[in-house]
Structure formats: C-alpha cells, structure tokens
C-alpha cells in the first residue's frame, strides 16, 4: 500500500517533478508545455517554476522566454552548490550561511562585503537587531573575512615578524588582536590571530594578505594557506550569548573561557543529528559585548546556524545585519579599516597613511618584543617624537544639537539613523579644522550622539572641547563636542569569567 503523503507536500512533489523534466538532452522547456505535461494549470506551473528560478535551479532564456536548466547549480543528490573555480561568473558570492540568511532577510536589503552578499538588515529597520546585541543575543554572519592558516616550524616566527604584537607570547588556545604595518610603520590592517596549535595559526583579516604574509615569510619553514572559503564564521553576541552557546555546543567550558580564549568543541544539538560536527570557538567579536565567534567547515555552516538558532529560540536570539553591527562597533569604540583609517596598501597619497597609534591601535605595538618586525624602526622613531594624529571618541553635546535645530524650529533630527560613514570635519572651538569624524550616530542605548574621529595629537586629550560639523536642514553648522573615553560602552560582561554574565554600564 502506497504511503499517503502528509498534507502540504503536494507542492514539493509537483516542483520536483517539474525539475526532473529538465535533462541534459532537453535543458529547455516552454511554460505551456511543462504545464500540460504535468497536468498543471499554467499559473500553478508558473508559480512553482518561479520558486525553482529563485532558488537558482532553473533560469530563463532571454531570447525565447523558455525555462532553462542550470546544471551547475548542483542541487540534488545531497550535493552542495558547486561553482566553477569557486565562483560563478557574474553572480554575487554567497557565504556558507546564505541559504539561512536569505530565508530570514525579509527586508531584501543586502550589502556587498568583500564581494559577498551580506544582509544589511533582516527586518525593514535595524532597530531590533541592534537591541538584540545589547539586550538578548544576535547571530551575525562574518564569513567574508579573509582567513589564512599558517603552519610549520616557523609559523610563530613568521607572525612575529609581520605583526606588531609579540607572538612568542601567544599561547596555544589564545587569540591575539594585532596590527601589521609596512616598512614605513604605516598601518596595513588590523585583525585577529588564533593560535590553534603550536605550529598552526589562523589569521583573520578584512582584506586580502596572502601575498604579504608569503613575502614576509620568504625563506622560512612556514606555509600560508588561504582558507577563506573553507570556513564559515558566525558571531554570537549579546548578554544571552553564553546561555545559548552552552546549549548548542558541547565540550567547551564557556563559563571558564576568558576574553580572547579559543577552544574546540562540537555541535551537540538536542536532535542529535549534527552531533560531533567540530567547531572552533573564540571569545571574540566586533560588538564590545559578551560574545563568541564560531569557525566551522563551510559544509557544516548550516548545521551550526541551526543549532544556535534552536538553542537561542527562548533567549530572544535574532539574526543581525551589517547596519546593526556598524552601530554596536562604534559604541564599542572599534575602528573599521577603510572607514576610520585608510590602509597603507591602497592609500593613493601619503597623507592618508597612518601608524597604528594614529589609528587608535597603539596598544597593539610592542616595541619591547625581540623580533625585528616590519615597520619597527619607523615606529620606534614615532615613539620618540610622538604620533601626529590620534583616534578619539567624540561625544556631541545634546544641548548644542537642541540649540542648532531650535534655530530652524525643529527638535534635533539625529535619532533613528544608522551609522554615517561620511567623513566630517572636526574643528577647534571657533577655529581651524583639526581632524575628521569618520563614523558617527545617535546611540539609542546611550542616548548620545557619538563618533570616532581622527584629530591632531594636541587635540586628543580626554575632555578636549571640539566642534563637529553637522548638517542642520540644508545648512552646515558646528556643534560643540568633547573628547571622551573609548569604548563608549564597555559592560563588565564583555570580559567577565564565571557564571555571572555581568550587568551593563
């Protein structure tokens, strides 16, 4: 006796049978033919084919308007999409989480990040996603990061030569946040380096650096391998991150993990289906909150996503897009390459280049380390004369904003906007320009208009009064601001160890 299919599966069966009509021998069909062959009303067939088209399984022949088989989509037989040389020409790149993020991205708002299509905001407004990071927990797909595995006897020596931090002090199971510079001491990038084993590291960076790492390691016994597409990376950030991680991942002592610790674990979801999938966990993130980043093989990405989503259902977990990320990272006082500073690798003119100290990353430069790292001599000279610029936190005076908008008979129109990345001049009070504000927004959490600014070193002391140019109506005005401590928001839970997740404030 044939098993009766459960209700609601009819559409799936019809779609599959439609898809099976496409063969290498007959890769193209007309809608009417397909509908007739399957006994479907043309509008039903059209709807089902539309889904197949949206899924990338079939396409349209622009000349005939017929439906075309897209064999390279590679669905079926349990296989994942296979792409020619890792990418299909003319098609945006997808992260390994894309099928999950796409299903959730109701806003259809996407942004290109390093060539990958990433959700800008999942819902029409980024508000709830932003608050999830500070109030509950958020999942953020950060897979577009470039990832390089460095192995070999000289792996540590290579990193110690390239990086400004001291990698002889980086123990296995730790992550180091570091800068790296060119010979002139100008900042190329900042990023995290994981020490997975004694002779195995993983560098994650916003921009490519395979060539730079290889060239710096010339003659060393160290292999640099680009594993960017091999790994999916998912950030779980927010006060509830630990509770969710503990429910989703086995074999990791989350309560005992310190900030910038690294641990290996495996998925341990309740269903048990994905049990045993290995995951690397780092207690890192780009939000300044309690959080973790999970590093998995790309083929396991969806299993990781599903495990965390199930575990987070009762904790207010939401996916968060890049707009929300850009807001929280400003509150955390974290700089962004090519927004808050220009990498020396592609600064067209000399004045755009900065040293780590000038980009607010002076704490990553260890001049007391032994190795002769790239840029060292220049940075030593800088230490003697002092950096010319400084990255500062700016807080714009609320009452100044009220005053300026009052002149055009409005309340300050600065609330509810995502972070602005348009560089804006910063002035000495009533005087000359002393720098520029590169990211700014009104923090719904702090109820303050804050920004990251690069200013002349003599205008960088905490409490220094400055002025920020603001657009009031169509006019350009100056609002009083002052230099404040970065990070703007730094909850105890970010670094707390033990069961307490810490309050905020």
């Amino acid at each position: 006796m044939a098993r009766r299919a459960p209700q609601g599966t009819q559409a799936i069966q019809r779609a599959l049978s439609l898809y099976r009509s496409f063969t290498p021998e007959q890769p193209e069909h007309r809608l009417t033919d397909l509908a007739a062959a399957h006994g479907l009303h043309p509008s039903t067939a059209h709807r089902l084919l539309g889904v197949l088209e949206a899924e990338g399984l079939v396409g349209r022949n622009p000349d005939t308007q017929g439906y075309l088989w897209l064999p390279e989509s590679g669905y079926g037989g349990g296989e994942r999409p296979v792409r020619r040389n890792g990418m299909r020409l003319l098609e945006p790149l997808r992260t390994p989480f894309h099928r999950r993020t796409e299903a959730l991205c109701e806003s259809d708002a996407w942004r290109d990040w390093s060539g990958y299509t990433c959700a800008l905001n999942y819902e029409p407004q980024p508000d709830y996603e932003y608050w999830a990071v500070r109030n509950t927990a958020a999942l953020i797909d950060v897979s577009p990061l470039f990832k390089y595995e460095i192995t070999g006897v000289d792996a540590e020596r290579l990193l110690d030569r390239v990086m400004t931090r001291d990698f002889t002090k980086c123990r296995v199971g730790r992550v180091m946040y570091t800068s790296w510079c060119n010979e002139d001491g100008h900042l190329l990038q900042d990023g995290n380096v994981q020490r997975l084993e004694r002779e195995r590291f993983l560098v994650s960076a916003a921009e490519p650096c395979l060539r730079w790492l290889e060239d710096c390691g010339l003659g060393m016994d160290a292999l640099v391998r680009d594993v960017s597409t091999d790994l999916g990376v998912l950030a779980l950030q927010g006060p509830r991150a630990r509770a969710i991680a503990e429910a989703a991942i086995q074999g990791v002592d989350f309560a005992g993990m310190r900030y910038f610790d690294l641990a290996g674990g495996e998925l341990g979801d309740a269903a048990g289906e994905d049990r045993g999938v290995p995951v690397t966990v780092t207690r890192t993130g780009y939000t300044g909150d309690l959080g973790y980043e999970f590093w998995v093989a790309s083929e396991d990405a969806e299993a990781l996503w599903d495990s965390l989503t199930v575990a987070g259902a009762d904790h207010g977990l939401r996916p968060a897009g890049l707009l929300a990320l850009d807001m929280v990272r400003v509150e955390a006082g974290l700089v962004l390459i090519d927004v808050d500073y220009v990498s020396a690798a592609h600064a067209e003119i000399e004045v755009l280049k900065v040293t780590p100290a000038e980009a607010g990353l002076g704490f990553t430069v260890k001049l007391d380390k032994e190795a002769d790292f790239t840029g060292r001599r220049a940075l030593e000279r800088e230490r003697e004369r002092g950096p010319a610029w400084a990255m500062v936190g700016l807080e714009v005076d609320w009452f100044e904003l009220e005053r300026l908008w009052e002149e055009i008979d409005l309340r300050p129109q600065v609330v509810g906007e995502p972070a602005s990345r348009e560089p804006t001049p910063v002035f000495a009070p009533g005087g000359e320009q002393v720098g520029q504000c590169t990211t700014r927004f009104f923090s719904p959490l702090l109820k303050k208009y804050i920004g990251l600014a690069t200013v002349q070193a003599d205008a960088a002391a905490l409490g220094t009064a400055l002025e920020l140019e603001v657009a009031v109506g169509y006019g350009r005005r100056r609002a009083g601001a002052r230099v404040v401590k970065r990070p703007f928001f730094n909850p105890a839970r970010k670094t707390a160890v033990g069961s307490a997740s810490g309050g905020h404030g």
């Binding site: 407004q125 608050w131 609320w398 009452f399 309340r411 129109q413 609330v415 303050k448 404030g505």
Partner: protein, 567 residues
C-alpha cells in the same frame, strides 16, 4: 555638581538619626518626579532627603516578581515622554536606564483582520492602504501636523512663563506680583511665536485643546478602524471616551514622546518600569540625596508664613529650608497643608479646590504569566509584531461602549486593552519559553456602583482574558498566573488619590497654569518655601520627569534670589 552650592549646607548630612534633623530640602514622595527633583537639588549641592510612605521607591513605576520567575511592571509599563535633558543632566543611562523600543502597533480586528503600523512610514502606508488609501496618505500629513503641535508644546514648556504664572496666581509668595510690569523677553518671544503661527496651525492647536479626539481625527480620516487605533492615546489614563470633548489634548500629550529627539517611540525599561525609578534614585544618591522609605509625612510645618519642614506620621519633625511634594494636590495641598498656614487667608479656598481636584482613576492593569506566546488570529506566527504594542480597540463604537459601562459605575465588559509582551522585549522578565503580558485596561472606575472591587476583581480579570481570547484563541488556557490591579490598588500602593495615573485628568480645566490650581501654578504654592513637583503640576502626566526638574530649577532659582536678598 555643576551649579555650585546654593543655599546653606544642612546639618543633616552627618547622618542624623532617623526621624529628626535639618535639611536644605525635603522631598515628599519617591515616585519618579520626586526623585528627579531630589537629584537636581542634590546635584546643586543641597542636602536633600526624600521621604516615601511606601516600603519601596518608585510610586507608579514599580516592578515586582509576583509569581516565581515572572516579573511584572505592576502599573506603568512604557516610557516615551522622559525628557532628554533629564536623561543627560542626570546621566541616567549610566545609572541603569535601558529602554528597548516597541516599534510597532498591532490592532487585531474581530473579523480576523488587523491594522498594523510600523516605524517605517512607507511600510505603514501599505498596511493602512489595505483599509483606506486616502487614510494611508493622510496619516503622514497628520503625523507631521502632530509633530508641529508637539513642538509648540515644547516651546511652551521651555518658556517657563513666570510672569504668566504670577499673573494667574496673584502670588502672595516671595515672588512679588509682577503683573502690570513689562513682560520679559522670554514671554515676549513666546507671544511673538504664537502670534506668527500660520492661521491653520493656530486653529489646529485650539482644536486640540477643546475637541474630542474622535472629531479631531474625523477631520483627517474616514476609516473607523484607524480612527479607533489612533484615538487610543487620547483615552489612556483619562476618564474620557474618544467622543468626549477635550480628549484630543490627551492625544497630543502622548504624542510629545514621539516628537522628542531622544525617543520618538515607546520604550520598555529592561527589568520593568521600576528600573526607571531605580536609575533616578541611583543618580540622586550619587549626588548625595538620602532616600527614606516607610516614612509617611503627616503635614507640612510652617513658621512665620513660610514652610520650614514636615511632621512625620510618627510625630517626628524634620526641618528644612524648602519642602517640595510630588504627591497629587489632594495630598500635597488638601492634606499636608494647614489652611491657617497659607498667607493671605486664602487657605480654606485653596484646600477646598484641591480636595475637589478631578482625579478619578479609570484604568486597571492585568498582568499575566503565560505558558507560551499568545497567537493572534490575525498574525498567528511569533514574529516581531509581538515585540510591539497590541491594542484591542477595533472601532470607535467599541471604545465608546466600553466607556459607557464605566460611566454608570461598572467596569467595561469588553474593555479597551493596551497590551505589551515584556518578555519578548526583555527575556529576563520570564523563564525561557514562557512569557509575561502587561494589559492596561479601560475602563475600570475607581468606584463601582452597587458593589466593590474586592467582589469584582476576578470578574474584571476574566473579562480581560475573555476579550483577549476573542483575538488570541487559546490564551485563556495559557494563563499560569494573573495579577489584577484596579484604581484603589493604585491609590493604596502608589499613593495616588483616586488611582488616576496622571495625578489628575488631563483636561483643559486642569492644564497649564490651572494645574493643579491657579494659586499653585508653575510649581510654587501660596506658602513660600513649599513647592509641588509631581505629575499634577504644569506639563505633568506620564514618566517625563519634566515637572520634577522644572520644580527643582524653580526652587534653586528662588533660593539663589533669597540668598542674594539676605546679603
């Protein structure tokens, strides 16, 4: 301590024994406005004590774990009006202010449809257009007009028209009667501003003060469902129907939160509304204010025509240079004052007016602990619409009938309900998988005809759950615990006479310079040294902190002037 010390340093700072001592200022009541006042006074260097009759601070901003694992915001449940200057000047975020926005409003309808509004106006257009394209288009114009009206209100608040208050009050206090003298530049500015308003704006403003919200909204919209949805803010906390003249003003009062630069939306305080009071108290203590609970005040002490302290219920006396009360006028004026202490023989009349202040509570709170999220027939999934407000007000007739029940002394059989699900906004409010629901319910009159609340409390709770079940079938089976609070509870727990959440109806007869009394406008009372700072003062009502701040600034100003005169 930005303002420098004002007045004299009290002798109470050395840790006076409970129930005695001298302070620069005594604040009666530790609701949010009393605490704001205390914080500003202490911030200016004054030695301040806050005296609260209840065992806990917060007044109507109160949270409690009434059922294990579930936290209720017992009375007030959302914050939108909190003044930005209060947040900034008292650094309230540092002290724990944490407001999660509720960005949408869902109005379920009996036919299984709904009206949904989001923060994105373009998307909201399409939601409304399903019901009426004309109204969808009108909504943005309406909101613009309301923002302009709200801005006018800010102008009024900013102007702090001393002279006008003095003119209305015919002041007998330390502020000499300035009526007849030349008006200040401030008053001239505000007068100019009003005179220069476009005619249609002036007309709108006057309409707002006098019309019913149903009529006012009727000028804009054709769709009953939308009018009912928008009229919600015109009745919340007021014993009015949307068809009662004067209700349009309440619309505007609630709209001011949306106009303001800091919020423009309603926010939920993480951990419950009690967190707002806790943050303000923390700021006040940080500036050195002392807060005493379980410390009811019996009356205000006066000597030589000036307030000089208070007598506590236990008979102890505390002395102070100024006394400021955050209580409603029935308490602040009618109870705490001795008519004979009011100079000029105006005491009896003043106390009499205060006792007759219109402040009848009309709203109840039903807080529910549920086994899981409610499923609304109109949007049965558990999407982000559950993070917003959910209002049961499917039509103007529906709300008007609910009002009719109450008009004759009953609670609404099918009430107006303004609901939020705090645990969706803040999972700390309930155990994982469970949820708490906060229902603000109208109408529930303070006094029931022919019966008592003790007898009707459960029936009222049942009516609420039954009404919700019409839109969220099955919710009645999800209830694990129910807390029903009615106006007499608000009165006894929060200490607000009549249980009116605004400390008095927001109607023209009780607004502006008439709030709470023509002789006690602009925060001063006829008894020099005795001030008012609660929701029943100018621009009061809602968690704004505005009255608390303005009263404190008035006091500091008076102390400074007094100090100058003494020198």
């Amino acid at each position: 301590m930005t303002e420098g010390a004002v007045g004299t340093t009290g002798t109470g700072s050395g840790g006076p024994e409970r129930g005695s001592g001298h302070f620069d200022a005594i604040v009666v009541g530790a609701g949010h406005n009393g605490l704001v006042s205390a914080a500003y006074l202490a911030r200016a260097g004054l030695d301040v004590v806050v005296l609260e009759r209840a065992p806990v601070i917060g007044g109507a901003t109160l949270s409690e774990e009434a059922f294990p694992g579930f936290r209720y915001s017992v009375f007030s449940y959302l914050v939108s009006l909190l003044r930005p200057e209060v947040i900034h000047e008292l650094d309230l975020v540092k002290h724990g202010l944490f407001l999660v926005p509720t960005a949408s409003t869902l109005n379920p309808l009996p036919n299984g449809d709904c009206l949904f509004r989001e923060s994105d106006p373009q998307r909201t257009y399409h939601h409304i257009a399903r019901h009426s394209r004309r109204d969808a288009e009108a909504l943005s114009e309406y909101k613009l007009e309301m923002r302009r009206m709200g801005h006018l209100m800010f102008k009024l608040q900013r102007a702090a028209p001393d002279e006008l208050a003095a003119a209305v009050a015919g002041h007998v206090g330390e502020e000499p009667d300035r009526a007849g003298s030349e008006v200040s530049a401030e008053v001239a500015d505000i007068a100019r501003y009003f005179l220069d308003l476009p005619k249609e704006r002036m007309r709108s403003f006057l309409q707002m003060l006098t019309m019913s919200s149903a009529d006012f909204l009727g000028q804009w919209f054709e769709c009953d469902v939308l009018k009912a949805a928008l009229s919600s803010s015109s009745i919340i906390g007021s014993f009015l129907s949307p068809r009662t003249p004067g209700s349009a003003y309440v619309l505007l009062h609630h709209y001011m939160g949306e106009v303001d630069g800091v919020y423009r939306e309603w926010g939920f305080q993480k951990g419950g509304t009690g967190g707002v009071a806790a943050a303000i108290a923390s700021a006040a203590r940080g500036y050195g204010a002392e807060i005493r609970t379980d410390c009811p005040v019996a009356r205000v002490l006066a000597r030589d025509g000036r307030a000089c302290g208070v007598v506590l219920a236990n008979g102890d006396e505390l002395t102070a240079d100024v006394v400021v009360s955050s209580a409603a006028p029935q308490v602040s004026l009618a109870t705490l004052l001795d008519a004979g202490d009011v100079p000029g023989g105006a005491g009896e009349a003043l106390l009499d007016r205060a006792a007759r202040w219109q402040s009848t509570g009309c709203a109840g709170k039903v807080n529910l602990a549920l086994d899981g999220l409610p499923r609304f027939e109109c949007m049965p999934d558990t999407g982000p619409h559950l993070a917003g407000g959910i209002t049961i007000a499917p039509g103007l007739d529906y709300v008007d009938r609910a009002y009719d029940d109450a008009k004759y002394g009953g609670f609404s059989k099918r009430p107006f309900i303004d609901m939020i699900i705090p645990s969706v906004l803040d999972p700390d409010m309930a155990p994982p998988g469970k949820c708490v629901v906060s229902c603000f319910v109208q109408y529930a009159p303070y006094e029931l005809a022919g019966t008592t609340w003790d007898e009707q409390r459960d029936a009222f709770g049942d009516a609420v759950v039954r009404t919700l079940a019409e839109y969220a079938p099955g919710i009645e089976d999800q209830v694990l615990h129910r807390q029903v609070r009615v106006p007499p509870d608000i009165e006894s727990i929060a200490g607000i006479p009549g249980g009116n959440i605004f400390h008095g109806e927001l109607r023209l007869s009780q607004l502006f310079l008439l709030r709470p009394d023509p002789a006690a406008a602009a925060f001063r009372t006829p008894l020099p040294g005795y001030y008012l700072c609660g929701s029943s003062t100018q621009f009061g009502g809602g968690i704004s902190g505005g009255p608390g701040r303005l009263a404190a600034l008035r006091i500091l100003d008076d102390l400074k002037r007094r100090g100058a005169e003494a020198r």
